[in-house]
Symmetry: C2
Amino acid sequence: MATAIFDYYRANHDRYLEGLTNLLKIPSISTLPEHKPDIRRAVESLANEFREMGMKNVEIIEGQANQHPLLYAEHLEASGKPTVLLYGHYDVQPADPLEEWISPPFEPTVRNDNIYARGAVDDKGQTYLLVKAVEGFLKTEGKLPINIKFLIEGEEEVGGEHIEQYVAAHPDRLKADAALICDTEMFAPDLPTITTGLRGLVYTEIEARGAAHDLHSGSYGGAAPNPFQALAEIITSLKGPDGKIRIPGFYKRVKKPGAKELEAWKRLPFKEKEFLQKEVGATALIGEKGFSVLERLWARPTLEVHGLRGGFTGEGAKTVIPGVATAKISMRLVPEMDPKEVIRQYTAHVKKSTPKGIKTAVRVISQAPASMVSTESRWIAAAAEAMEQVFRKKTVYIRSGGSIPIVGVFQKSLRIPSVMMGFGLPDDNLHAPNEKFHLPNFYRGIEAVGRYLELLGQ
Amino acid sequence: MATAIFDYYRANHDRYLEGLTNLLKIPSISTLPEHKPDIRRAVESLANEFREMGMKNVEIIEGQANQHPLLYAEHLEASGKPTVLLYGHYDVQPADPLEEWISPPFEPTVRNDNIYARGAVDDKGQTYLLVKAVEGFLKTEGKLPINIKFLIEGEEEVGGEHIEQYVAAHPDRLKADAALICDTEMFAPDLPTITTGLRGLVYTEIEARGAAHDLHSGSYGGAAPNPFQALAEIITSLKGPDGKIRIPGFYKRVKKPGAKELEAWKRLPFKEKEFLQKEVGATALIGEKGFSVLERLWARPTLEVHGLRGGFTGEGAKTVIPGVATAKISMRLVPEMDPKEVIRQYTAHVKKSTPKGIKTAVRVISQAPASMVSTESRWIAAAAEAMEQVFRKKTVYIRSGGSIPIVGVFQKSLRIPSVMMGFGLPDDNLHAPNEKFHLPNFYRGIEAVGRYLELLGQ
């Protein structure tokens, strides 16, 4: 490791903390229109950092009227070296319920080596460490070990489409060998972690129509079709009590993870009882027999009902048979499952399971395939080595049951793999009150990213 | 029929219409607090009518602060004759959507022999005809053929408890031989109709709890219990796709209606196709095999889901597994089913059908047994005869699939049967825009009730 730059990183903790604090003070909540000026302040503040540290072609990219800007910056002077696209987001979740915050969400406060603020870890802290890792090289050596492009967005927390549209429209400008995304977690404190797989998602609505209008259950109950009864029948026909999805052909492309990967998962510090009690808080975990919890979460598809709309849900006793009711249902997909094929199978099965008297229509709200990066890839191998050197522990590979849409976007439009180095902790309270970032991880994150760039440049 | 009084009824149509119009102008919407003064005006207007026509002990009975007043009046000078309790309600449903009314809901307008206004048929028109029928005797003969007690409420449309509490607390004051309720419909235009049976109701909520809080379906889907999936399993375990309720013992006390009653239903002018197309508007009717539609609606119990609360039902794609979800489910009961027994069976079956990882709790919101009056009863026989004489057609006996709670209240607290003479028509738009009352039925209603009182006095 080049000593000079790491000495520089370590000498600048106070300045990094101050910079992060200033960024966290800006309530750049992307979902609330009244915070539009804060969105602007946040993106301009990062643009200024880029300009000051010597990045080139720094550009705030405006979208359509209702879209939040992207921020682009590049440094492409490492001829013959690889190019990495660094991704982060400057927007944050809303902060309510405010009364549960120990210190106000936009007055960053350090307690016990943690900085508490909305966006501390998700994702301002993890975006800022990318910036500071790159800055270190420019400040000490005046150049970078590889070529770097930054693309920072302001709509991650609202699922905005600006970045997807921009990436699709500008594959040449964004051309790179790999992407580095700092927006995930470490599996346990001090355990350097790379996320190598994400489940995909197909999110749907099933609309079930019975009568032409709402009916009184006294006058019509027993002869009129009830869309809720139909949806209950459809839901149980989609997934059985054993957790198995009953859609014909659904599991056709599902593959068991390799023996090595499964072996590695078994060695992870995961305690099922603790997960049940501390994270879930139910009386029991459920799911498919014959698969471990991590396998069920990371490597098995699932189908979940999120809500049912229609009829009467207020206080008291309204005896309505709704004319129409809607179920919001999603499926998580694993690698090699094709969202389009799943949608076909699902739609056909919903139709087949629709009882007499009811008409159903399936609407697909979003779809994205699962993604996987091989642990054999040089981009992953170097990331693992960099983290290992900084954290002084063997890097573990995990998957995530969720989806990070940008990974799919980069894969689809730029044909590049995404390296997901994460420095958050499981108890960092993402999307919740008292969000925090563990400061040693912030500083180690800067070092790990710096070392990663260095390794890629060798 | 005493000619004098019927001549009087027929000579006073204009005055009856004027009186009804004035009553209908008062927007006595019981569910909207801003209409509290109108509730007061409506009850006082009826109280004045009672005083002017010579009723005794006219009393506006105040309830608790949030309750609407009852109106009591009596005339008990027919020594040795029966006493009948006349029931109606002066409150009305809200009028929205206002834009769908052809004439404003509280500016009563006559078109094609119908008076259009909110409350025209439900129940001001049908309450007012009771008042006018009684008034006719006092104006022409100065006395009544039987003893009469009026009890008019102002909370029928909100399911208020004032009347139930009052009846339970004053059985002596309200002592009567039978009740006469004018709040139902004729089976078809010109077809004099008495409703002899009502289904009972058990209305419940099932709360299903899984995780201690909402979870992200990416991070937890496949291992965390989903309360909606559980509710779907419970709902399908409660009622099968064949419309049969699967709760053990549920049908134990259910009896087939007598051959004579079923025979009579077959003769009713009911066309299944028309019912499906005009009233329901679905692709097909559903329900238990081997029972006619009217039997399914009137003489078979049913179970209906009214709504499911929890999770996410907005636009877009929130991937939440709710910690808790609630289903609103009711059962309609037929005669001889015991609500308490049904609740026990239902609760036990819900518990038994609750899947692993989920805790369920059943809350009973309301319960009332079914009610039946024998067509052999003298109170019914006289009512049928009176209607027949006025309408010049044979009176039909029907049941209703709904519940009229006051019938149960009179049965329970006063131990008296309720005679349900109805003068509404199926297309009178109860609870909907353009509610109307067919004026010939208003006038014939006055005559039929007058004749009924006369027959009971003989």
